[in-house]
Symmetry: C4
Subunit: 233 residues, 4 copies
Amino acid sequence: MRRTSRFLSCSSILERATNVKDSFWLTSQHSITTSGPDLVNDGSSSVRRKAEYALYKGKAALSVSPVLPTFREVDSGVSRVYKKGCVILTFWPAVGVRKYDWQKKQAFALSPTEVGSLIGLGPAESCEFFHDPSMKSSLEGQVKKSLSISPMKDKTGILLNFSVVNNIQKTNERFSVPVTKAEFTAIRTVLSYVLPHIMGWTQAASPQPPSTATHTPKEQIEERPDPSLEWGR
Amino acid sequence: MRRTSRFLSCSSILERATNVKDSFWLTSQHSITTSGPDLVNDGSSSVRRKAEYALYKGKAALSVSPVLPTFREVDSGVSRVYKKGCVILTFWPAVGVRKYDWQKKQAFALSPTEVGSLIGLGPAESCEFFHDPSMKSSLEGQVKKSLSISPMKDKTGILLNFSVVNNIQKTNERFSVPVTKAEFTAIRTVLSYVLPHIMGWTQAASPQPPSTATHTPKEQIEERPDPSLEWGR
Amino acid sequence: MRRTSRFLSCSSILERATNVKDSFWLTSQHSITTSGPDLVNDGSSSVRRKAEYALYKGKAALSVSPVLPTFREVDSGVSRVYKKGCVILTFWPAVGVRKYDWQKKQAFALSPTEVGSLIGLGPAESCEFFHDPSMKSSLEGQVKKSLSISPMKDKTGILLNFSVVNNIQKTNERFSVPVTKAEFTAIRTVLSYVLPHIMGWTQAASPQPPSTATHTPKEQIEERPDPSLEWGR
Amino acid sequence: MRRTSRFLSCSSILERATNVKDSFWLTSQHSITTSGPDLVNDGSSSVRRKAEYALYKGKAALSVSPVLPTFREVDSGVSRVYKKGCVILTFWPAVGVRKYDWQKKQAFALSPTEVGSLIGLGPAESCEFFHDPSMKSSLEGQVKKSLSISPMKDKTGILLNFSVVNNIQKTNERFSVPVTKAEFTAIRTVLSYVLPHIMGWTQAASPQPPSTATHTPKEQIEERPDPSLEWGR
């Protein structure tokens, strides 16, 4: 599967993420909704809980963590997904025995469909994703991220190869992380759990807290989601 | 699998949906329950969150979104599913490169059993559904909707073919949407998540909000669900 | 798999169920907990929502619905499953075209392990369960319920055969319900969803409401669950 | 799969568990968070609900129950998993027909990855885990726990063999529990449900209660999780 990311919402999350590390994480409904006008105010303080699944291997470490979508009120009493959710894969290199340098981390945001690709990956199958975090900006094409997932020769698991080519900083970073069958099963299990969350279906299904949402101009919301945000084929 | 829909509840949702677009969406417990006498009144405002999974392809776009069932109090302190939930597949045609005409949309409501059919569809299997949204009305047989799902020849995914024959408007609309393995896995994952929701099992399992439900005459509720609402074989 | 039920808790539910039909259903946390001393009192009224999955076939109808476990406070600040949950299969006969007689219903309570058996049933596999609702009472052996599940010859689904032999009333009732692949997939999907519920794991994982629980004598709770309640091998 | 546990967090739970039996169980969000500074105070009393899945066999009994992670506020308004969750397998011996001695119990804490290993275990596959509850203490190597899971010869299920060698007490205890296909399917279904819980993803996704969390010194939390807590390869 070869594709180039148009997942602007999550790549923008990645940009912000370098500054606001918290936005990397699966956070509670009201910490999320505070990031949009669909503000929740239920009288409780706003402590966000963060979760991840981290693997530490010989050459690099890998962390898997989801980002929930944000909702925005688009009409009186109706709010819709404003910023898509995703699952962030963060890689950072080993700099010694069991020592890893978090400052050198690089992140890749999986879209709901790419998450589906991992969930459904057969034991002998491979897949590869290509993202351009600067797509549709003046820097488009300057940074290329590619993630390839392939079965290990000894059939004991899969191998994740991630590379980030940055033409501006003239850097080319590579990360390689072997993932055992057991670890991949754990990853697929939580991905299956979290997919409805990053698609916003779970928030839509849960009782709504009181809202003090401001209003977004109608024209912004009447139209359907911009197809250019969708993966091409 | 060949069958004709008697899924009146959701076809009626489809009729209303052309006017009330919001009823297309998975909405929160209390936005839903307000649609029935089993009214929720927990002091919070009623902001509904809406979610979907949309795919934009060459000839048409496809949106998948669930509709929760509504409950009605049928006896003192007991409410039961009054209107069945479903999953709405909405198709709308491409009218240019990455341009789609939402006004020309056509919708198909999958029953819980049809959702089960998609979840369990084998890689080489096909299935086909036939619905008559006007069933049991004076217009019965005037509108015929058929959805067929079959594997793509190159085995890279499935093909959805949807046609709506309207003898009243003398129209015959066809939509064809290819769905990749990854996209179909994402769809099946959220369908598995949402099936207990549209069947009402998740609402039944969750704590109940205060109710100001009005009363429905006993005789309406003592009987079992009308078999004529059930799929035939 | 041949076994005789010692699932006293749910068979007692079945006995009560003939009087209290509501106890058949998956009900909200506080309608359930009111059935035990672990009483919930959160100021809301007690409207129970009920859900099922019903199939109407030529000879009989089948309804699938879960029963949550009840909890009882067994020590200060600690409550444990007091009555096990289960999934109730209710069969009632056809008495004409699309007419069914609910008064002639017979029910079978699946234990968590029997639910696991259905979830994991392979396409060509069969299983059979035997229950004695009067076990350990003076009527033990007087009523025998057996449920067999086997693949249909044409491979289009499974066949449920349920028989109830009652030596007291000198009756022998038989129900036969064919279930399509799609319907069985829907059943297995909701069974997978509901299994953690009937085992009490979901209630244990959710925030607890204020409790006014009375106390159960220590000796009743210090011991482990009575092995005689567990299925033999 | 051969590995030695460095799962300190859960082995410490096991040590405490011999005194505080309640810590064995999946407990509610606020009973758990009370065990850390990320204290929940929502005005309700603190009744914990406990759940398990227990099997009573000829030579021994097996209980499966999860332990949720604890969160600690690591920065203003942000809390992170402080103590990892796990799934506890508790074995205790039969001392007669349907009589079991809970005082002779031995427990094994499955890490999220080991849970993944069980969920993904193929019908003909085996796996084995090795834990040292005293790892990194002065008693390291004195107690060795090993759990092996292998298919039964007659293909009717799996066999769990658990041994605890304690060089200090000069004891060597062995437990053997056969698990049927149906029971293993039930176990895998609840393990799939509970994995996101023990990884903290579900708590992170749920609305947060008011927090009166104390503050943990920044340096403790800025760094990534200690790799030495992660399984080696």
